[in-house]
Symmetry: C2
Subunit: 109 residues, 2 copies
DNA sequence: TGCCTATATGCCGATACAGTTATATATTTG
DNA sequence: CAAATATATAACTGTATCGGCATATAGGCA
């Protein structure tokens, strides 16, 4: 695997991708998609977010290739592009867990 | 490993952590620390950022336990808390690479 | 004690972005 | 073609936050 060197340019690109995942609404959408392909309207109902809002979040996720789009008639079906996103989330959750554990250990004295 | 369920609360916590890594300046700082422990002044020189700015970014990274702090006299030595951050960055870089590859393949037609 | 240095913090201006509303685009149906 | 529906986009507003400046805090030293 060719390793990208962390030049400022690459760092900026990586930061952009982290930012794309830094929004609860977008993580929520991704979490929903874990169950399978969904339309925009499905996601609106599942998340309680506004339609325009969901569309914008999906556009962002799509621009980073976190999700795929399939157009069929009036509907746009979105699905996860790959499982890499959840590797990221799982890693993050792992850190979060050990962090929470440490904190509660401190509180417990 | 106990798996956290992705409740809105957990999602918010995960999003916060992604946001902490969504700033080029902070990734730059983490990248510098990969070489080992550094003081704030070291980091100011290495990154070209302002001192107040570096201090603030470090405070954020520290609040999420991405970095450790060791106080010695006037100096504050910062170091990476663990290597999990770079597992995250490497995963992100991997996605980035395959994304860039795909894009250039499209351009090449 | 008084000065110097390292770091942290409060304030401010500028910018970026989420969410809402209204509208545009596009596709199906009558 | 006209109406209805699904999705995308534009304009606007409020909020958050980055970076810079000034200052506070704290430790070391004469």
């Amino acid at each position: 695997m060719t390793r990208l060197t962390l030049t400022p340019e690459v760092i900026a690109l990586v930061a952009e991708r982290f930012k794309a995942l830094s929004e609860p609404a977008r993580l929520e959408i991704l979490s929903c998609l874990r169950a399978g392909e969904m339309t925009v309207t499905d996601l609106v109902q599942a998340t309680g977010l506004g339609q325009a809002n969901v569309s914008k979040h999906l556009a962002i996720l799509h621009s980073f290739a976190f999700v795929k789009r399939r157009k069929e008639g009036l509907f746009a079906f979105y699905s996860l592009a790959d499982k890499g996103v959840f590797q990221l989330c799982d890693l993050m959750c792992g850190q979060l867990e050990s962090e929470l554990k440490k904190r509660s250990r401190v509180l417990a004295g």
